[in-house]
C-alpha cells in the first residue's frame, strides 16, 4: 500500500472539520476513482469516527492528538485513525431500527458506528503499542 498523507490533529471537536475539509481537497485530485457522492460518504464516516474518539475515547481530555493516515491500495483507500485513548471493541455494528410513525422511537444519538459502516466497505480495529488503530476501507468506484 502506498501512503498518501498523514495528518495529526488535536483531539477536540473543532479539529474534525480540518480533517474532512483536507480530505475533500485531497480527493478532488482522484476524480474518476471517486466522485462527489463517494467523497460525501467518506466525510460522514471520518467525521463520525473522529468525533467518537474525542467524545468516547478521550472523553474531551485536553492535550490529546489523533493521527489520520491515508493509504491507497490497488482497489481502495484506507484511512487509519490512531489515538492513545483506552482500548475499545467493535464487536457488532448496531442497527438503526425505528418506526417512522412512532415519534418516540426516532434516534437522537447512537448513529455513528452505523453511519460509518454504511459509508465504508470495511471497518477494522487493532490495538497495538498502547494505541487504537481504527481502519476504514472504501473501495474505488466500479470495484
Amino acid at each position: 500500500m502506498e501512503k498518501i498523507i498523514s495528518l495529526e490533529i488535536s483531539g477536540k471537536l473543532e479539529s474534525v472539520k480540518l480533517v474532512t475539509l483536507s480530505i475533500r481537497s485531497i480527493f478532488s485530485c482522484f476524480m474518476g476513482q471517486v466522485d462527489w457522492d463517494w467523497i460525501d460518504e467518506t466525510e460522514i464516516a471520518l467525521a463520525e469516527a473522529i468525533t467518537n474518539i474525542v467524545k468516547h475515547g478521550y472523553r474531551y481530555q485536553k492535550d490529546t492528538t489523533i493521527t489520520i493516515e491515508l493509504y491507497k491500495s490497488k482497489v481502495a483507500f484506507e484511512f487509519h485513525l490512531i489515538d492513545m485513548a483506552s482500548p475499545y471493541t467493535i464487536d457488532e455494528i448496531p442497527s438503526l431500527d425505528f418506526d417512522e410513525a412512532a415519534i418516540d422511537t426516532l434516534p437522537e444519538s447512537g448513529m455513528g458506528i452505523y453511519l460509518i459502516s454504511e459509508c465504508m466497505n470495511d471497518l477494522k480495529y487493532i490495538r497495538e503499542k498502547n494505541q487504537n488503530r481504527l481502519i476504514l476501507v472504501k473501495h474505488f468506484l466500479m470495484i
Binding site: 472539520k17 457522492d37 466525510e43 467525521a47 467524545k55 434516534p107 444519538s109
Partner: protein, 114 residues
C-alpha cells in the same frame, strides 16, 4: 453559533443557522436555541439549511429532538439543496420522517403549511 430568525406570514418562522457545518461542535447550542424558539411559542418552523453543507449525526440528533418536541403541536419543514445534507437524511432513513423540500425558494416551504 447563532440562528437568524425571520417571521413570515401564517405565523411561520424561518430559522437559518449561521454555520456551514452542523456537527458535534455546535449541535448542543443549535438544539438549545431551537428548543428556546418552541418555548417562546413558535410552532411552525422552516429550518433553512441551504447555507449548510454538512450535517453529522449530532446535528441530525438535534433536529430529531426538535421534531419530537414540536410534532404534537406544530410543524417542521426542512429546506435544503445540499446533496451532502440530503445524503445524511437518506442514509439514516429519516428522509421518510421529515418534510424535506429540495429547493432554494422559500415559497416552496411556506406552501407546505396549511
Amino acid at each position: 453559533m447563532n440562528l437568524t430568525i425571520t417571521e413570515l406570514p401564517k405565523k411561520i418562522v424561518k430559522v437559518v443557522p449561521d454555520v456551514k457545518r452542523l456537527d458535534a461542535s455546535v449541535a448542543p447550542d443549535f438544539k438549545q436555541q431551537l428548543q428556546g424558539l418552541i418555548d417562546d411559542g413558535h410552532t411552525r418552523l422552516i429550518l433553512d439549511l441551504n447555507e449548510v453543507n454538512f450535517v453529522d449525526s449530532s446535528g441530525l440528533g438535534a433536529i430529531v429532538a426538535t421534531y419530537k418536541r414540536l410534532k404534537p403541536v406544530g410543524t417542521l419543514v426542512i429546506l435544503t439543496t445540499s446533496q451532502a445534507v440530503l445524503t445524511m437524511f437518506k442514509l439514516t432513513r429519516l428522509e421518510k420522517v421529515f418534510t424535506i423540500i429540495s429547493s432554494k425558494n422559500m415559497m416552496d416551504a411556506i406552501n407546505c403549511f396549511d
